[in-house]
Protein backbone atom coordinates (compact mmCIF):
# COMPACT_ATOMS: atom_id res chain seq x y z
CA UNK A 1 0.00 0.00 0.00
CA UNK A 2 2.42 2.56 -1.20
CA UNK A 3 0.00 5.29 -2.02
CA UNK A 4 -1.65 5.25 1.37
CA UNK A 5 -1.63 8.61 3.04
CA UNK A 6 -1.99 8.85 6.76
CA UNK A 7 -1.57 12.59 7.01
CA UNK A 8 -5.06 13.86 6.39
CA UNK A 9 -8.12 12.89 8.31
CA UNK A 10 -9.35 10.20 6.02
CA UNK A 11 -12.89 10.46 4.94
CA UNK A 12 -14.35 7.16 3.85
CA UNK A 13 -16.84 7.95 1.15
CA UNK A 14 -20.04 6.06 0.85
CA UNK A 15 -20.46 5.20 -2.73
CA UNK A 16 -23.09 2.45 -2.77
CA UNK A 17 -25.49 2.35 -5.65
CA UNK A 18 -24.82 2.53 -9.36
CA UNK A 19 -22.09 0.66 -11.17
CA UNK A 20 -20.64 3.98 -12.29
CA UNK A 21 -19.59 4.85 -8.75
CA UNK A 22 -18.28 1.35 -8.14
CA UNK A 23 -16.15 1.61 -11.27
CA UNK A 24 -14.70 4.95 -10.17
CA UNK A 25 -16.19 6.50 -13.28
CA UNK A 26 -17.43 9.94 -14.17
CA UNK A 27 -21.00 10.00 -12.91
CA UNK A 28 -23.10 13.18 -13.28
CA UNK A 29 -25.72 11.80 -10.84
CA UNK A 30 -23.16 11.29 -8.08
CA UNK A 31 -21.78 14.77 -8.68
CA UNK A 32 -25.25 16.34 -8.46
CA UNK A 33 -25.99 14.47 -5.22
CA UNK A 34 -22.64 15.19 -3.58
CA UNK A 35 -21.84 18.78 -4.51
CA UNK A 36 -22.48 19.84 -0.91
CA UNK A 37 -19.38 17.91 0.22
CA UNK A 38 -17.20 20.38 -1.65
CA UNK A 39 -18.64 23.59 -0.20
CA UNK A 40 -16.51 23.70 2.96
CA UNK A 41 -13.22 22.65 1.30
CA UNK A 42 -13.90 25.20 -1.45
CA UNK A 43 -14.45 27.97 1.12
CA UNK A 44 -11.26 26.89 2.93
CA UNK A 45 -9.42 27.05 -0.39
CA UNK A 46 -10.69 30.60 -1.02
CA UNK A 47 -9.73 31.59 2.52
CA UNK A 48 -6.20 30.18 2.19
CA UNK A 49 -5.67 31.89 -1.17
CA UNK A 50 -7.12 35.31 -0.39
CA UNK A 51 -5.57 35.64 3.08
CA UNK A 52 -2.10 34.53 2.01
CA UNK A 53 -2.07 36.75 -1.09
CA UNK A 54 -3.25 39.70 1.05
CA UNK A 55 -0.58 39.15 3.72
CA UNK A 56 2.05 38.45 1.08
CA UNK A 57 1.10 41.63 -0.76
CA UNK A 58 1.47 43.80 2.35
CA UNK A 59 4.88 42.28 3.21
CA UNK A 60 6.30 42.27 -0.33
CA UNK A 61 4.95 45.74 -1.15
CA UNK A 62 6.50 47.20 2.00
CA UNK A 63 9.83 45.48 1.30
CA UNK A 64 9.76 46.71 -2.30
CA UNK A 65 9.19 50.31 -1.17
CA UNK A 66 12.10 50.02 1.25
CA UNK A 67 14.32 48.52 -1.45
CA UNK A 68 13.25 51.32 -3.79
CA UNK A 69 14.74 53.87 -1.36
CA UNK A 70 17.73 51.82 -0.21
CA UNK A 71 19.01 50.22 -3.39
CA UNK A 72 21.64 48.03 -1.72
CA UNK A 73 18.82 45.99 -0.15
CA UNK A 74 17.51 44.90 -3.55
CA UNK A 75 19.88 41.96 -4.34
CA UNK A 76 19.72 40.27 -0.90
CA UNK A 77 15.92 40.68 -0.68
CA UNK A 78 15.20 39.27 -4.13
CA UNK A 79 17.70 36.44 -3.59
CA UNK A 80 15.96 35.46 -0.32
CA UNK A 81 12.54 35.53 -1.96
CA UNK A 82 13.90 33.41 -4.81
CA UNK A 83 15.33 30.77 -2.46
CA UNK A 84 12.05 30.65 -0.51
CA UNK A 85 10.23 30.11 -3.78
CA UNK A 86 12.59 27.33 -4.88
CA UNK A 87 11.73 25.14 -1.87
CA UNK A 88 9.05 22.65 -3.02
CA UNK A 89 5.70 23.47 -1.44
CA UNK A 90 5.05 19.97 -0.08
CA UNK A 91 8.45 20.07 1.62
CA UNK A 92 7.87 23.54 3.08
CA UNK A 93 4.48 22.53 4.52
CA UNK A 94 6.22 19.62 6.29
CA UNK A 95 9.32 21.59 7.33
CA UNK A 96 7.06 24.07 9.14
CA UNK A 97 5.14 21.38 11.05
CA UNK A 98 7.62 21.09 13.95
CA UNK A 99 7.65 24.89 14.29
CA UNK A 100 4.05 26.00 13.78
CA UNK A 101 2.18 22.69 14.17
CA UNK A 102 -0.54 21.20 12.00
CA UNK A 103 -3.24 23.53 10.78
CA UNK A 104 -4.22 26.67 8.92
CA UNK A 105 -1.36 28.79 10.29
CA UNK A 106 1.28 26.50 8.79
CA UNK A 107 -0.57 26.51 5.48
CA UNK A 108 -0.76 30.30 5.47
CA UNK A 109 2.91 30.82 6.40
CA UNK A 110 4.07 28.59 3.53
CA UNK A 111 1.65 30.09 1.00
CA UNK A 112 2.59 33.66 1.98
CA UNK A 113 6.26 32.86 1.42
CA UNK A 114 5.52 31.81 -2.17
CA UNK A 115 3.63 35.00 -3.04
CA UNK A 116 6.53 37.26 -2.02
CA UNK A 117 8.76 36.78 -5.07
CA UNK A 118 6.12 37.67 -7.70
CA UNK A 119 4.87 40.77 -5.91
CA UNK A 120 8.31 42.00 -4.82
CA UNK A 121 9.88 41.60 -8.27
CA UNK A 122 6.96 43.25 -10.07
CA UNK A 123 6.61 46.19 -7.66
CA UNK A 124 10.33 46.99 -7.86
CA UNK A 125 10.33 46.58 -11.66
CA UNK A 126 7.24 48.79 -11.93
CA UNK A 127 8.75 51.55 -9.77
CA UNK A 128 11.98 51.25 -11.74
CA UNK A 129 10.16 51.75 -15.04
CA UNK A 130 8.51 55.03 -14.04
CA UNK A 131 9.69 57.62 -16.62
CA UNK A 132 12.41 59.95 -15.30
CA UNK A 133 10.52 62.91 -16.80
CA UNK A 134 7.43 62.23 -14.68
CA UNK A 135 9.55 62.09 -11.52
CA UNK A 136 11.39 65.29 -12.45
CA UNK A 137 8.15 67.09 -13.28
CA UNK A 138 6.65 66.04 -9.96
CA UNK A 139 9.75 67.24 -8.08
CA UNK A 140 9.61 70.51 -10.01
CA UNK A 141 6.01 70.98 -8.88
CA UNK A 142 7.28 70.78 -5.31
CA UNK A 143 6.03 67.32 -4.32
CA UNK A 144 7.69 65.83 -1.25
CA UNK A 145 9.25 62.35 -1.51
CA UNK A 146 6.16 60.82 0.08
CA UNK A 147 3.78 62.61 -2.28
CA UNK A 148 5.99 61.65 -5.21
CA UNK A 149 5.77 57.99 -4.24
CA UNK A 150 2.02 57.77 -3.68
CA UNK A 151 0.79 60.23 -6.33
CA UNK A 152 3.21 59.53 -9.18
CA UNK A 153 5.42 56.47 -8.83
CA UNK A 154 2.96 53.93 -7.38
CA UNK A 155 0.07 54.87 -9.74
CA UNK A 156 2.37 54.62 -12.77
CA UNK A 157 3.66 51.25 -11.56
CA UNK A 158 0.13 49.85 -11.08
CA UNK A 159 0.05 47.72 -14.27
CA UNK A 160 3.21 45.82 -13.19
CA UNK A 161 1.98 45.57 -9.61
CA UNK A 162 -1.31 44.07 -10.77
CA UNK A 163 0.52 41.67 -13.09
CA UNK A 164 2.51 40.40 -10.09
CA UNK A 165 -0.66 40.11 -8.04
CA UNK A 166 -2.32 38.01 -10.75
CA UNK A 167 0.61 35.59 -11.03
CA UNK A 168 0.80 35.31 -7.23
CA UNK A 169 -2.94 34.58 -6.98
CA UNK A 170 -3.16 31.85 -9.63
CA UNK A 171 0.02 30.23 -8.26
CA UNK A 172 -1.38 30.30 -4.72
CA UNK A 173 -4.63 28.62 -5.79
CA UNK A 174 -2.50 25.76 -7.15
CA UNK A 175 -0.24 25.54 -4.11
CA UNK A 176 -3.18 25.70 -1.70
CA UNK A 177 -4.28 22.39 -3.23
CA UNK A 178 -1.27 20.89 -1.42
CA UNK A 179 -2.00 22.63 1.90
CA UNK A 180 -3.60 19.42 3.20
CA UNK A 181 -0.04 18.23 3.87
CA UNK A 182 0.03 20.89 6.58
CA UNK A 183 -3.45 19.93 7.79
CA UNK A 184 -4.88 23.17 6.44
CA UNK A 185 -7.71 21.60 4.41
CA UNK A 186 -8.77 22.98 1.06
CA UNK A 187 -9.80 21.20 -2.12
CA UNK A 188 -6.59 19.15 -2.09
CA UNK A 189 -7.89 17.20 0.88
CA UNK A 190 -10.95 16.11 -1.12
CA UNK A 191 -8.82 15.27 -4.16
CA UNK A 192 -6.42 13.18 -2.11
CA UNK A 193 -9.16 11.40 -0.16
CA UNK A 194 -10.39 9.63 -3.30
CA UNK A 195 -7.91 10.26 -6.09
CA UNK A 196 -8.92 7.27 -8.24
CA UNK A 197 -12.56 8.39 -8.50
CA UNK A 198 -13.07 10.32 -11.74
CA UNK A 199 -16.13 12.23 -10.50
CA UNK A 200 -14.28 13.45 -7.43
CA UNK A 201 -11.26 14.63 -9.44
CA UNK A 202 -13.52 16.31 -12.01
CA UNK A 203 -15.49 18.31 -9.43
CA UNK A 204 -12.60 19.28 -7.15
CA UNK A 205 -10.27 19.96 -10.10
CA UNK A 206 -12.84 22.10 -11.90
CA UNK A 207 -13.50 24.07 -8.71
CA UNK A 208 -9.76 24.74 -8.23
CA UNK A 209 -9.16 25.79 -11.85
CA UNK A 210 -12.39 27.84 -11.86
CA UNK A 211 -11.30 29.61 -8.68
CA UNK A 212 -7.96 30.55 -10.26
CA UNK A 213 -9.68 31.95 -13.35
CA UNK A 214 -12.37 33.86 -11.43
CA UNK A 215 -9.86 35.46 -9.02
CA UNK A 216 -7.67 36.38 -11.99
CA UNK A 217 -10.65 38.04 -13.68
CA UNK A 218 -11.60 39.89 -10.47
CA UNK A 219 -8.10 41.36 -10.19
CA UNK A 220 -8.25 42.41 -13.84
CA UNK A 221 -11.52 44.23 -13.14
CA UNK A 222 -10.05 45.98 -10.09
CA UNK A 223 -7.05 47.02 -12.20
CA UNK A 224 -9.37 48.37 -14.88
CA UNK A 225 -11.24 50.40 -12.26
CA UNK A 226 -8.05 51.71 -10.63
CA UNK A 227 -6.31 52.90 -13.79
CA UNK A 228 -8.87 55.16 -15.50
CA UNK A 229 -6.12 57.15 -17.29
CA UNK A 230 -5.08 54.06 -19.25
CA UNK A 231 -8.62 53.62 -20.50
CA UNK A 232 -8.68 57.28 -21.55
CA UNK A 233 -5.40 56.80 -23.43
CA UNK A 234 -6.70 53.66 -25.14
CA UNK A 235 -9.94 55.26 -26.25
Amino acid sequence: MNSWLQLGQLEIRERQGGTCEANNGFCPDWIADNLHRYVDPFLQHIFLTVVSVAIGFVIAFALALIAHRKRWLLPPLSASAQILYAIPSVALFLLLLPITGRGTVTGLVALVSYTLIFIFVNVTAGLEAVPKESVDAARGMGLTERQLLWRVEVPLALPEIFAGLRIATTTTVGLAALAFFAGAGGLGEEINADKGFQSNIAVAGALAIGLALVLDLLILIVQWLMTPWRRAAAA
Partner: protein
Protein backbone atom coordinates in the same frame (compact mmCIF):
# COMPACT_ATOMS: atom_id res chain seq x y z
CA UNK B 1 10.05 28.97 24.75
CA UNK B 2 13.28 27.05 25.20
CA UNK B 3 11.21 23.88 25.47
CA UNK B 4 9.62 24.61 22.06
CA UNK B 5 13.06 25.21 20.57
CA UNK B 6 14.33 21.96 22.05
CA UNK B 7 11.39 20.09 20.51
CA UNK B 8 11.99 21.65 17.11
CA UNK B 9 15.69 20.80 17.24
CA UNK B 10 14.79 17.29 18.35
CA UNK B 11 12.42 16.83 15.41
CA UNK B 12 14.97 18.03 12.87
CA UNK B 13 17.72 15.98 14.53
CA UNK B 14 15.60 12.85 14.18
CA UNK B 15 14.86 13.71 10.56
CA UNK B 16 18.54 14.11 9.70
CA UNK B 17 19.40 10.90 11.50
CA UNK B 18 16.77 9.14 9.35
CA UNK B 19 18.59 10.29 6.22
CA UNK B 20 21.86 8.67 7.28
CA UNK B 21 20.93 5.74 9.51
CA UNK B 22 18.60 2.82 8.87
CA UNK B 23 15.95 2.29 11.50
CA UNK B 24 13.02 -0.08 12.10
CA UNK B 25 9.82 0.76 10.23
CA UNK B 26 6.86 2.17 12.15
CA UNK B 27 4.57 -0.43 10.62
CA UNK B 28 6.70 -3.55 10.86
CA UNK B 29 9.65 -3.54 13.28
CA UNK B 30 11.32 -6.30 11.26
CA UNK B 31 11.89 -4.14 8.17
CA UNK B 32 14.44 -1.37 8.08
CA UNK B 33 13.74 2.03 6.48
CA UNK B 34 15.75 5.16 5.81
CA UNK B 35 19.50 5.44 5.76
CA UNK B 36 21.81 6.71 3.11
CA UNK B 37 21.35 3.80 0.68
CA UNK B 38 17.55 4.01 0.54
CA UNK B 39 17.62 7.80 0.28
CA UNK B 40 20.14 7.60 -2.57
CA UNK B 41 17.99 5.03 -4.33
CA UNK B 42 14.91 7.26 -3.97
CA UNK B 43 16.91 10.29 -5.13
CA UNK B 44 17.95 8.45 -8.30
CA UNK B 45 14.36 7.37 -8.96
CA UNK B 46 13.22 10.94 -8.34
CA UNK B 47 15.80 12.27 -10.81
CA UNK B 48 15.07 9.58 -13.43
CA UNK B 49 11.34 10.39 -13.31
CA UNK B 50 11.96 14.14 -13.48
CA UNK B 51 14.58 13.90 -16.22
CA UNK B 52 12.35 11.76 -18.46
CA UNK B 53 9.46 14.16 -17.96
CA UNK B 54 11.55 17.26 -18.71
CA UNK B 55 13.16 15.52 -21.71
CA UNK B 56 9.80 14.64 -23.26
CA UNK B 57 8.24 18.02 -22.48
CA UNK B 58 11.26 19.81 -23.93
CA UNK B 59 11.45 17.53 -26.99
CA UNK B 60 7.88 18.57 -27.85
CA UNK B 61 8.05 22.22 -26.78
CA UNK B 62 11.30 23.35 -28.45
CA UNK B 63 10.54 22.21 -32.05
CA UNK B 64 6.96 23.48 -31.68
CA UNK B 65 8.17 26.83 -30.34
CA UNK B 66 10.85 27.14 -33.05
CA UNK B 67 8.36 26.36 -35.81
CA UNK B 68 5.63 28.67 -34.49
CA UNK B 69 8.10 31.44 -33.67
CA UNK B 70 9.86 31.26 -37.03
CA UNK B 71 6.57 31.60 -38.89
CA UNK B 72 5.15 34.09 -36.34
CA UNK B 73 2.19 31.77 -35.77
CA UNK B 74 0.23 30.83 -32.67
CA UNK B 75 1.19 33.89 -30.65
CA UNK B 76 -1.87 33.66 -28.42
CA UNK B 77 -1.38 29.95 -27.66
CA UNK B 78 2.37 30.22 -27.11
CA UNK B 79 2.14 33.26 -24.84
CA UNK B 80 -0.81 31.98 -22.83
CA UNK B 81 0.48 28.41 -22.44
CA UNK B 82 2.35 29.45 -19.30
CA UNK B 83 -0.64 31.29 -17.84
CA UNK B 84 -2.97 28.37 -18.43
CA UNK B 85 -0.35 25.97 -17.06
CA UNK B 86 -0.12 28.04 -13.90
CA UNK B 87 -3.89 28.02 -13.39
CA UNK B 88 -3.98 24.21 -13.28
CA UNK B 89 -2.88 23.03 -9.82
CA UNK B 90 -0.16 20.36 -10.05
CA UNK B 91 -2.17 18.09 -7.76
CA UNK B 92 -5.12 18.33 -10.15
CA UNK B 93 -2.91 17.65 -13.19
CA UNK B 94 -1.44 14.56 -11.52
CA UNK B 95 -4.72 13.17 -10.18
CA UNK B 96 -6.50 13.69 -13.51
CA UNK B 97 -3.93 11.31 -15.01
CA UNK B 98 -4.30 8.91 -12.05
CA UNK B 99 -8.10 8.82 -12.21
CA UNK B 100 -8.55 8.89 -15.99
CA UNK B 101 -5.49 6.99 -17.26
CA UNK B 102 -4.11 5.06 -14.33
CA UNK B 103 -1.24 4.78 -11.88
CA UNK B 104 2.33 3.83 -12.71
CA UNK B 105 5.45 5.34 -14.21
CA UNK B 106 4.13 6.25 -17.68
CA UNK B 107 0.99 8.22 -16.72
CA UNK B 108 2.77 10.06 -13.89
CA UNK B 109 5.75 10.83 -16.12
CA UNK B 110 3.44 12.12 -18.88
CA UNK B 111 1.58 14.36 -16.44
CA UNK B 112 4.92 15.83 -15.34
CA UNK B 113 5.96 16.22 -19.01
CA UNK B 114 2.78 18.22 -19.54
CA UNK B 115 3.82 20.39 -16.59
CA UNK B 116 7.24 20.97 -18.21
CA UNK B 117 5.86 21.94 -21.60
CA UNK B 118 4.36 25.46 -21.16
CA UNK B 119 7.39 27.39 -19.83
CA UNK B 120 9.68 25.92 -22.51
CA UNK B 121 7.15 26.60 -25.28
CA UNK B 122 6.54 30.20 -24.20
CA UNK B 123 10.25 30.95 -23.80
CA UNK B 124 11.21 29.36 -27.12
CA UNK B 125 8.52 31.28 -28.98
CA UNK B 126 9.43 34.60 -27.36
CA UNK B 127 13.17 34.04 -27.91
CA UNK B 128 12.80 33.19 -31.60
CA UNK B 129 10.54 36.15 -32.29
CA UNK B 130 13.07 38.45 -30.61
CA UNK B 131 15.96 37.37 -32.82
CA UNK B 132 16.89 40.46 -34.81
CA UNK B 133 15.29 40.58 -38.25
CA UNK B 134 18.64 41.71 -39.66
CA UNK B 135 20.34 38.46 -38.63
CA UNK B 136 17.57 36.41 -40.24
CA UNK B 137 17.62 38.54 -43.39
CA UNK B 138 21.41 38.23 -43.63
CA UNK B 139 21.14 34.45 -43.32
CA UNK B 140 18.46 34.36 -45.99
CA UNK B 141 20.64 36.51 -48.22
CA UNK B 142 23.43 34.00 -47.82
CA UNK B 143 21.08 31.42 -49.31
CA UNK B 144 20.07 29.57 -46.15
CA UNK B 145 16.80 27.65 -46.21
CA UNK B 146 14.17 28.10 -43.49
CA UNK B 147 15.37 24.95 -41.72
CA UNK B 148 18.97 26.17 -41.81
CA UNK B 149 17.96 29.57 -40.46
CA UNK B 150 16.07 27.95 -37.59
CA UNK B 151 18.90 25.56 -36.75
CA UNK B 152 21.94 27.76 -37.32
CA UNK B 153 20.73 31.27 -36.52
CA UNK B 154 17.53 31.38 -34.49
CA UNK B 155 18.19 28.37 -32.23
CA UNK B 156 21.71 29.38 -31.08
CA UNK B 157 20.64 32.97 -30.46
CA UNK B 158 17.58 31.76 -28.52
CA UNK B 159 19.40 29.21 -26.35
CA UNK B 160 19.81 31.34 -23.20
CA UNK B 161 16.09 32.16 -23.06
CA UNK B 162 15.10 28.59 -23.92
CA UNK B 163 17.33 27.35 -21.11
CA UNK B 164 15.70 29.77 -18.69
CA UNK B 165 12.41 28.07 -19.60
CA UNK B 166 13.90 24.60 -19.16
CA UNK B 167 15.16 25.62 -15.74
CA UNK B 168 11.72 26.82 -14.64
CA UNK B 169 10.22 23.58 -15.99
CA UNK B 170 12.83 21.36 -14.32
CA UNK B 171 12.48 23.00 -10.91
CA UNK B 172 8.70 22.67 -11.17
CA UNK B 173 8.92 19.02 -12.19
CA UNK B 174 11.45 18.05 -9.52
CA UNK B 175 9.28 19.75 -6.89
CA UNK B 176 6.11 18.08 -8.15
CA UNK B 177 7.72 14.63 -8.47
CA UNK B 178 7.45 14.69 -4.67
CA UNK B 179 3.78 13.73 -4.97
CA UNK B 180 4.45 11.04 -7.60
CA UNK B 181 3.92 8.29 -4.96
CA UNK B 182 0.20 9.27 -5.02
CA UNK B 183 0.29 7.47 -8.40
CA UNK B 184 2.35 4.54 -7.03
CA UNK B 185 5.67 5.77 -8.45
CA UNK B 186 8.58 5.89 -6.02
CA UNK B 187 10.42 9.19 -5.51
CA UNK B 188 11.83 11.15 -2.58
CA UNK B 189 8.19 11.81 -1.74
CA UNK B 190 7.65 8.15 -0.82
CA UNK B 191 8.50 8.66 2.91
CA UNK B 192 6.17 11.69 2.88
CA UNK B 193 3.20 9.92 1.29
CA UNK B 194 3.74 6.60 3.09
CA UNK B 195 3.90 8.25 6.50
CA UNK B 196 2.71 5.12 8.29
CA UNK B 197 5.75 3.17 7.11
CA UNK B 198 8.43 5.80 7.47
CA UNK B 199 7.18 7.76 10.48
CA UNK B 200 7.46 11.44 11.30
CA UNK B 201 11.27 11.42 11.08
CA UNK B 202 11.09 9.94 7.59
CA UNK B 203 8.52 12.49 6.50
CA UNK B 204 10.57 15.45 7.72
CA UNK B 205 13.83 13.91 6.47
CA UNK B 206 12.38 13.45 3.00
CA UNK B 207 11.14 17.06 3.05
CA UNK B 208 14.70 18.20 3.78
CA UNK B 209 16.10 15.93 1.03
CA UNK B 210 13.59 17.20 -1.55
CA UNK B 211 14.38 20.83 -0.72
CA UNK B 212 18.13 20.26 -1.06
CA UNK B 213 17.65 18.37 -4.34
CA UNK B 214 15.47 21.12 -5.85
CA UNK B 215 17.90 23.87 -4.88
CA UNK B 216 20.78 21.79 -6.32
CA UNK B 217 18.95 21.21 -9.62
CA UNK B 218 18.09 24.90 -9.85
CA UNK B 219 21.73 25.87 -9.24
CA UNK B 220 23.12 23.30 -11.68
CA UNK B 221 20.79 24.44 -14.46
CA UNK B 222 21.66 28.09 -13.81
CA UNK B 223 25.31 27.17 -14.39
CA UNK B 224 24.37 25.23 -17.53
CA UNK B 225 22.39 28.22 -18.77
CA UNK B 226 25.50 30.40 -18.55
CA UNK B 227 27.48 27.71 -20.36
CA UNK B 228 25.13 27.56 -23.38
CA UNK B 229 25.00 31.32 -23.83
CA UNK B 230 26.83 32.09 -27.11
CA UNK B 231 29.99 34.13 -26.51
CA UNK B 232 28.67 36.96 -28.65
CA UNK B 233 25.54 37.36 -26.52
CA UNK B 234 27.62 37.33 -23.34
CA UNK B 235 29.77 40.19 -24.60
CA UNK B 236 26.66 42.07 -25.59
CA UNK B 237 25.22 41.63 -22.11
CA UNK B 238 28.40 43.05 -20.64
CA UNK B 239 29.45 39.84 -18.91
CA UNK B 240 33.12 39.25 -18.24
CA UNK B 241 34.97 37.93 -21.26
CA UNK B 242 36.07 34.31 -21.15
CA UNK B 243 38.52 32.46 -23.33
CA UNK B 244 36.50 29.62 -24.74
CA UNK B 245 35.54 28.33 -28.15
CA UNK B 246 32.22 30.02 -28.94
CA UNK B 247 29.25 27.68 -29.13
CA UNK B 248 28.30 29.12 -32.49
CA UNK B 249 31.56 28.02 -34.06
CA UNK B 250 31.34 24.60 -32.46
CA UNK B 251 27.90 24.13 -33.98
CA UNK B 252 29.12 25.08 -37.42
CA UNK B 253 31.99 22.62 -37.14
CA UNK B 254 29.57 19.89 -36.17
CA UNK B 255 27.16 20.43 -39.07
CA UNK B 256 28.55 19.55 -42.49
Amino acid sequence: MSLVLANVLNDFGGAIEFLFKQQPSQLDPNTEVGGISEMLDLTLKHLALSASAVAIGTAVAIPLGLYLGHHRKGEFAAINASNVGRAIPTLVLLTVFIAYIGVGFVPIMLSLALLALPPVLTNTWVAVTQVERDSVDAARGMGMTDTEIIRQVELPLSLPTIFAGIRVAAVNVVATATIAPLGSVDSLGTPIISGNVYGADGRLGAAIAVSVLTLAVSGALAALQRAVTPEGLKLGAGEPQRRRLPNLRRREAATP
